[in-house]
Symmetry: C2
Subunit: 325 residues, 2 copies
């Protein structure tokens, strides 16, 4: 089973076919960066058209059993998530509404302060806000998973403490392997796994040691060490694939409507666009390389299978609806 | 089994308890008259709070099996509908979105011309519009039922012809029994039933012969005659109960935001508010009186059971999702 914990591509039939070539049974796709509720609904609509247009390649995923259906019918189940809480605006009732529409992950912040928590680019991290506490409770109730990939450390640790259900960092790497601002320190990873949460490893070059030149062996050995330290059952892939987008989209991701000046995020004025992917992970077709690389570290088949998808599958199964008693 | 094909009350625990006292297994409730998409979402949110608050009395209905669940657990299944296509604005993609959120009926017009068709108060009925044809096709695809209760005759007959699935008039009476503008002529009822559709009898006094003074016997004999003429299997109740609302709400229903002058709909300047209900049908507790009255006309138990809910049940079962092949 192969599941990717985060992608945001310029979706097309080509990419859906590459998902099939890469054996992807499920992908969590981002459908909002800075969108308002109404704009996010337009993105749900766009996906509805793709599901109508490519019924032989993709299907809408809302529960783990949709992954089984996808496997049985040779398709990829698409699960929706937001990288920012902008789609719920200032309205807690929208948490259940977006869940009903199919959202299964929501980051409490993108890089900036949000109504709910502090983003990883802010100078001061004041933790979970008053509304944030209420929204975490509501997300727990309906089964909308808290994703802290772009949040600041204190906010992430507090979210893990406040949440009564496991939380995630869908796409990042350990900070001590590659000290990018977005990569996570041990205390943060520990807080996530202590609550039964999931950590997805990112292949975005700015998150990799050596960036585009990072080796498959180096990446997989980092995963093996993380498994030794935190427990392999908490780990998966969250590739952060941003395939086929023009540079204007990375600019939108970083700047939304919040700044008149240009923020380069993990890039720079000299390199404002998407960095080149490593040669061993160009796109969805290369998931097999990750499995090969993980095996080469000496991991067991069970461990490799867990990281490639089994761990996400269990997490999806337990966290995408109300708690069943 | 008891199902009401339309209500729009000032919802409260009292009314939910009265639904239980009246033995209602399911009610189609209006959640939009003139609301935009975002405003309609606020109404979905309000119902989500009621489902949380009164889990022992009501549950959200999206398919006929929810009626079985409601019966098995002594609750009433609430199904959502719109009296106007305003919630989909000018965006056909919203048809599937509102269906996903739980809408199961949508009128193509309230009393006025809409983007889709002509309402029954317009001087000229130009039938189904260009967008209307597209929206009917999309409603057919997802399983959102076309309701023509407030539409003009030609628009209704065209909708029945264009639609590939049965349509409804959820709440009206035959025009030859009570010649109200909202009541339906034989050609209109025939078009609805010819396509396998459903006609729900209204208890709104302006739709009754003699208004508030209409007798139970007169009402039930009219139903019996309609059954003889059109087939009992196409008939149900659509009470149009508007309980506990202040007069300002009937003003909103009639005027929305579309007029600076006051439109009195089926009322008048002298009687602008809700008319008094007949003594034998004050509210949800009186559904039993309808069954008694229908039996007194000489109908069989099967026929009475069909009109009281069985016919709506079959209709809900067959029309609330994509066509299954």
């Amino acid at each position: 089973m192969r599941i990717d914990g985060l992608q945001y591509a310029n979706w097309s039939e080509k990419i859906f076919r590459q998902m099939r070539q890469g054996g992807l049974d499920a992908v969590h796709v981002t459908i909002a960066y800075h969108e308002s509720f109404r704009e996010t609904v337009l993105n749900f609509e766009r996906w509805n058209r793709w599901f109508e247009q490519y019924p032989d390649l993709i299907l809408k995923g809302t529960q783990a059993s949709d992954i089984d259906l996808a496997r049985d019918t040779g398709r990829t189940a698409i699960f929706f998530g937001f990288q920012n809480p902008s789609p719920i605006e200032d309205d807690i009732g929208l948490v259940e509404i977006v869940h009903t529409l199919g959202a299964r992950f929501m980051q409490l912040t993108y890089n900036n302060q949000s109504l709910l928590a502090t983003g990883c680019y802010e100078a001061h991290d004041t933790g979970i806000t008053r509304m944030g506490r209420q929204v975490i409770k509501e997300m727990n109730r309906v089964g909308l998973v808290i994703d802290m990939s772009h949040s600041a450390d204190r906010s992430t640790i507090e979210a893990a403490e406040i949440s009564e259900r496991p939380i995630t960092v869908t796409h990042a790497n350990p900070h001590d392997w590659c000290p990018a601002l977005r990569n996570k320190r041990e205390t943060v990873i520990q807080a996530v796994v202590d609550g039964g949460g999931m950590f997805g490893f990112s292949l975005y070059p700015h998150h990799l040691k050596g960036k585009t030149d990072c080796t498959l062996q180096g990446f997989c050995e980092m995963i093996a060490r993380t498994a030794d330290r935190f427990g392999v059952q908490h780990l998966g892939i969250g590739s952060d694939l941003c395939q086929d987008h023009p540079d204007s989209v990375v600019e939108w991701m970083r700047n939304g409507r919040w700044s008149k000046e240009t923020d380069y995020g993990e890039g720079s004025a000299a390199a404002p666009g998407f960095p080149e992917m490593p040669g061993w992970f160009r796109d969805n077709r290369d998931f097999g390389n990750l499995a090969t690389g993980l095996r080469a570290t000496g991991m067991s088949e069970d461990e490799v299978a867990g990281i490639m998808g089994g761990n996400w599958y269990r997490f999806f199964r337990d966290n995408f609806g109300p708690v069943t008693t």
